[in-house]
Amino acid sequence: MNYAILVSVALFWMFAWFMNTRLAMLSPANPVVARAVNLFIPVLFGITLIVIWEGLARGLHIPQVLLPAPSSIWARITSSTGILWADFYQTFMKAVLAGFTLGCGSGFVVAIIVDRVPFLRRGLLPIGNLVAALPVVGIAPIMVMWFGFDWPSKAAVVVVMTFFPMLVNTVAGLAASSSMERDLMRTYASDYWQTLFKLRLPAAMPFIFNALKINSTLALIGAIVAEFFGTPIVGMGFRISTEVGRMNIDMVWAEIFVAALAGSISYGLIALLERAVTFWHPSYRA
């Protein structure tokens, strides 16, 4: 045990805690400063967590196989960028993107058809709601059997996982415009398609983006878990399951870091797009 490290970690923790308490009490009048403070508080919290993690791992000499220190994870990330990129390319660029596009696209199209046919809406929607709650990742072994070890089987899992949230949300969104607004469209003598494109789809956008956000996480999970069931020797899920078996826990953390980065960036991009598309929504109007 290394007391010097442990004590300095404790000191840093207390300092950061004190800083955050003071910062949280501030309520600056200047909006830019307020924003900076609100951004700085969670960042400091995150840094503190990493410092504590690093300090505990070093100070208590926690073995590498249990919990590698952040510094050794970072060293692993920088030293194996080639492998990480290859895995990312296989899992994200091929399986996730293809599956996400197909799943969300088909969910959207089916939702529009379902919306047109009330009978289908009554029949398909309860089933869609049910399926959205089911452990859909379970179909991974079947998809691997049908579509082979390479990325198409993972994309197929992602398609099935993303389809139902998109379907359910889009149908809910298409019902979001009020009857007053629809009546207004009717007084303008607009036909079904005009009402759809000019009123109902824009009104459905918050719901659709909600589904896209849910699906961006689901898609990554689906692709990674599907790789546990068989894959060529590349891919994030493959790397995680084999390196866990070889007790290279720092490599696993490196993959998790990449997955987290990919997940947050795609979520952020969707959120930015949402802001641009639904600028009219009350939650974005200052």
């Binding site: 955050n20 949280a24 009490m25 049910l130 079947i142 878990v225």
Partner: protein, 298 residues
């Protein structure tokens, strides 16, 4: 449109449409089963240099040992055989494996819900925690947490913790997010007027919490618990994959995929689906009972 009521509403707006869709799905399933399994039978016939009639072909595609897609009745038979006809303690019983999974699901769900409620209560009462912890809780939603499931299992195994707890921890990890986020929203849902009213009563923090915030948050709690219970089942199933497929529904999926036992995979899938639906319905029932008891039923 004319509003239907009573039994006729139930028939026309529920039973008929849902029944039709389910029927179409089953028919499609049979169709695909014949289509996908036909290649194997045609190959067999060609190898034996025999001609088989279409009727024979269709019949054979539905009775294969390892079909590409088992027909619904094959899955139903397998489920019947492995639930009703096997002893519950038998390793081949689906009830046994389902129970293993259910156990860690429930343990994880309970721990996750308690953790989520606790965190939410802290966040609502502490400005520091709200500003520093909440962004991370939301950011962590974008991270594919399930990816760390194998690591948790193996690392905990390495330090001697095995059995139900590691899997339950994964479920906990997955299920506390929706509860924490929903409860923060719920505990903040009482509007300013109500909070001011409590203040005029000179209520202290804990009185405000138990008499206003908590009751107001109950509907939010149940909504997020429905999400949480479904996701903790997913966590338990995925948690069973890396342990080398010992027991549980996830293990059934994995051994099924190792040995090409498609019927076993499908029956494990159906069992998981039934379990998920039952859990969600149970939470829904409890929520109805509680909200009615609290006088909040619509």
């Amino acid at each position: 449109m004319r509003e239907r009521q009573g039994p006729s509403w139930f028939f026309f707006d529920r039973l008929l449409p849902i029944g039709t869709v389910v029927l179409v799905i089953i028919l499609l399933w049979y169709g695909f089963a014949v289509l996908l399994n036909a290649k194997f039978e045609l190959d067999q016939a060609a190898r034996a240099k025999k001609q088989i009639s279409t009727m024979e072909l269709v019949q054979k595609t539905m009775a294969q040992d390892r079909p590409v897609l088992p027909a619904p009745h094959q899955v139903a038979t397998e489920i019947w055989n492995t639930t009703a006809l096997k002893k519950v303690t038998s390793k081949r019983s689906l009830v046994y494996h389902g129970w293993i999974t259910l156990r860690s699901t429930l343990l994880g769900f309970v721990m996750g819900t308690l953790l989520g409620i606790g965190l939410a209560a802290l966040i609502v009462h502490s400005r520091v925690l709200d500003k520093s912890l909440m962004p991370w809780i939301i950011a962590s939603q974008t991270i594919p947490i399930l990816a760390i499931a194998p690591m948790i299992i193996v690392v905990l195994n390495a330090i001697g913790i095995s059995g139900v707890l590691p899997k339950a921890l994964i479920s906990t990890y997955l299920s506390f997010f929706p509860v924490a986020v929903g409860m923060v929203k719920g505990l903040r849902s009482p509007d300013l007027m109500l909070m001011d009213l409590m203040r005029t009563y000179n209520a202290n923090r804990s009185q405000i919490f138990w008499k206003l915030r908590w009751p107001a948050a109950v509907p939010f709690l149940f909504t997020s618990m429905k999400v949480a219970v479904a996701i903790s089942l997913v966590g338990a199933i995925v948690g069973e994959l890396p342990t080398g497929a010992v027991a549980g529904l996830g293990a059934r999926l994995l051994t099924g995929s190792y040995y090409g036992q498609t019927i076993q995979i499908w029956s494990a899938l159906v069992a998981a689906a039934v379990l998920a639906a039952a859990l969600v319905i149970m939470v829904d029932l409890v929520s109805r009972l509680v909200t009615r008891h609290m006088g909040m039923a619509q």
